[in-house]
Symmetry: C2
Subunit: 508 residues, 2 copies
């Protein structure tokens, strides 16, 4: 018997909160499921469907509801109006592979080896991938009866043993790594120039279904449209049981492609066209849920894997009022949109609480009636008290890693930078300077170490403009102490991103 669509939100929230609390207390082993909360059983306690839509290099400021002046995102704005719009939601890393690893495992990427000393992400000649021993959200939810599917970019290892189908997903349609890797730019043209005038045959990235290449090069003009169609099919096919759909869009990572119908669609140029097509694709998901009467039993999340790629100028996105972008541990590099929509259960509003993409792991497992692994450290926290309005925000800190190193740390409203990148990915001179670092003039390209650290009040100064370390030694000391405690608890696996090329054949 399907749950009444008229169930009072507060009653349903209270019931879910009870489930979540119980789940967290009862979680004792991988795969354990609570009696009565197992997915697949009809009735009151059928757990919600989980849809996590993420994007590639979309910035905090790229949606209408986050203040973009010229990009139109009516479907995402509707998600924001009907759900919670989080203003301090973070990807857990400022670049692709580690960010995705954290989202899917609930763990900071150092624990799973998803980093490198020389390489920041996986490449087409990488010999490694997400280790088999890691437990993904897909595995945890499949264990309690969810259908699991991924539509989109993986980027956690392209060799067969690392593919999504080996990590808990029943099905996959998408590309294995970034759309600008594996390229064949014609002689006489620079790769950078080709990025601005892309043709499908410049890039050789394959399109996969499950473990088979079905198209190479992938026709990138139509990937967003085809992802939408695949997502709709997945939802239709699994309408009668709980499902987890992970939908990591290939766009708006450079080179930018959009389908014919979105050419010139936006006042914001090609980048705007691409975002507006993603917004359309989100609309397809929402409309499908509505048509199948699944809206009130589905949590839909929208976010991004890191901040905007600023070096591509107006072909890259915007972090809005936040500083810098992708690849950096300034807010623009890691703070991203975070929309949570579940009508009838999540009360609409704007949320300033801190959240991380890796919290989606813990939260989804709690809502799904599963159990988070207890044989390893899990960094994600359960955000459902905030989503359901049943308790205080569970997260007070944020750890900002670049490669394998802790560059910055946030405690409440204060953030300390121990190390910064001055110009990663940003055009020359673009960065806003800090007061004390004296990088206003001609910032060097390398790293800058700060002793004492820079300190920003992210409440009064979300743009990280005004270093207050000298004025607030008490706040600085508190953040530094919290960072030290965090460091002391961190476990670090062997870095796997550096294992590249044929000379590395002995590697995993």
């Amino acid at each position: 018997m399907p749950e009444s669509r008229n169930a009072a939100p507060s009653r349903r929230r209270a019931r879910l909160a009870a489930v979540c609390g119980l789940t967290l207390l009862a979680a004792s082993s991988r795969g354990a499921a609570l009696a009565g909360a197992t997915a697949g059983q009809p009735g009151e306690d059928r757990p919600p469907n989980i849809v996590i839509i993420t994007t590639d290099d979309l910035g905090w400021g790229d949606l209408g509801s986050y203040g973009h002046p010229t990009i139109r995102t009516p479907h995402l704005d509707r998600m924001a109006a009907e759900g919670q719009r989080w203003t301090s939601f973070y990807s857990q890393a400022p670049v692709c592979s580690p960010s995705r690893a954290a989202l899917l495992t609930g763990r900071i990427h150092l624990r799973s080896g998803m980093f490198g000393r020389r390489q920041g992400v996986f490449f087409p000649d990488s010999r490694a991938g997400l280790p088999a021993g890691e437990i993904t959200l897909a595995e945890a939810l499949r264990d309690v009866g969810y259908a699991t599917g991924i539509v989109g970019k993986w980027h956690l290892g392209h060799l067969p043993e690392y593919l999504p189908t080996r990590h808990g997903f029943d099905s996959w349609f998408g590309i294995p790594y970034s759309n600008d890797m594996d390229w064949r730019v014609p002689s006489g043209a620079t790769r950078r120039a080709a990025m601005f005038h892309p043709r499908t045959d410049y890039w050789h990235v394959p399109l996969m279904r499950d473990e088979t290449v079905i198209e190479r090069p992938a026709d990138q003009h139509t990937v967003t449209r085809r992802y939408a169609a695949e997502a709709v099919s997945f939802i239709e096919a699994h309408r009668d049981r709980p499902f987890f759909l992970y939908l990591p869009h290939t766009m708006p990572h450079m080179p930018l492609f959009r389908s014919e119908g979105f050419r010139g669609h936006s006042a914001a140029g090609v980048y705007g066209d691409v975002i507006e097509e993603i917004d359309w694709a989100v609309g397809q998901v929402l409309e499908t849920l509505e048509r199948l009467e699944l809206t009130e039993r589905t949590l839909v999340v929208f976010t991004s894997d890191n901040g905007p790629w600023l070096s591509y100028r107006s072909h890259g996105g915007s972090a809005g009022p936040l500083r810098n972008g992708k690849g950096t541990t300034f807010e623009g590099g890691m703070r991203v949109p975070g929309l949570f929509r579940w009508p009838g259960t999540i009360a609409p509003g704007v949320v300033q609480a801190i959240g991380s993409a890796m919290d989606l792991f813990t939260t989804a497992i709690a809502l799904g009636g599963g159990a988070a692994p207890d044989d390893r450290p899990i960094d994600g926290v359960d955000l459902s008290p905030v989503l359901l309005g049943t308790g205080p925000p569970p997260r007070e800190t944020m750890a900002y890693y670049r490669m394998g190193e802790l560059f910055a740390f946030r405690l409440g409203r204060y953030k300390a930078h121990f190390t910064t990148q001055s110009r990663y990915g940003a055009p020359r001179g673009w960065m806003q300077p800090t007061d004390r670092s004296r990088i206003a003039g001609s910032p060097p390209t390398g790293r800058l170490e700060h002793d004492p650290p820079l300190l920003y009040d992210l409440g009064a100064d979300p743009g990280e403009r005004y270093d207050i370390a000298a004025e607030r030694p008490d706040a600085l000391a508190a953040v530094v102490a919290a960072a030290e405690a965090h460091r002391a608890g961190m476990t670090v696996a062997e870095p796997l991103f550096d294992l590249r090329g044929p000379e590395r054949e002995s590697a995993p």
Copy 2:
């Protein structure tokens, strides 16, 4: 007979559009009123109440609905959700007095002498004010039967002959000039330091009712609260006839004050407290309209007089993704929030069309059934086709003046800068550099002339980061030609801001 609250929006819009179109065609002399559209007559054609709420130095990025991460503005966000949120709405000048003159007269401030060669605004020792010959929006609406009131800051001349009551307003409660003028900082303290730790007795600005000083120094802690109460009283007193309420808040101009109930209210510090109190005050107006059943017969507009005062760091506001702030002709200096709410008549949505505060003059007169003056150039255009959904946007250009000089010009999506200020009001090194001007390093404090001009695509690059003059000579030529045409049509009165002090007693 009051108009049905259930009148179909489209029908009412069509009727109003007919009125507006007719008004523009029929406008032939000051004070002319259309038959059947005169204010004060009951029935179907009673014109709408007009409420224009503006603020002092509030930036484009300072509201939740414009993407501020930590300032909460639920009442303004409700205005945005229930009305139109304009993303390219401008104050007509980057500082206070000329901006207000343009709003109230529908004319670029050069035409009315509201500028100076040495002074940017009026001061407590100014000998001049808005000339008696200028026709304000209050006069134009009073001529067709509106009750007119101003609650808040005037700043168009403090001498008796220039006060609001001499310029068409039936009543005034507020202050004559900026709250940081006329100051008495104790010896041993710098004025700047006192700005950050303000006490009421540091500033000597008077509080006026009509033409009488009723309190000096004004207790600035309670001005926002008292403005709200005065606005409510005005609406209650005039509920039975059309009214025009102009509500220019004193805040968030430095020094910042808020009432006791808003101390620590915001996660964004004292500046956030101040904005959240203004938001509360907006809520008081909306609730009063609701209580008196005037919601559907009242247009409420919210905007600001110029961009944020960046030199006050986290005590100043934010332009969000836009460049620079108050005092400059970059977008951050003049592009401001623009909210238009009139339930049942204005269909909600986000509007990218260009609008200027001086268009409020022409638009309000059109909606009110009055006639814009035809004996002088009027620069404001009637925005009602966009508000009512009846026609294309009427404005394609924007002229950016600093003092008496045209610094920049926008045509459609392209903006050319002929001259820029490198650092007005911004902390050292804060500004984002331009590519070609080479001011990335250590920008000088003075003006920079650009030949060829800088060219930005405000669609794809709303933050004015990437000069494309070299790539798009066609677009540059078009903007330059439009600017030349604008210059050719400009009339310039004698500048009145420079007339200061006793030695100027022979001046007006």
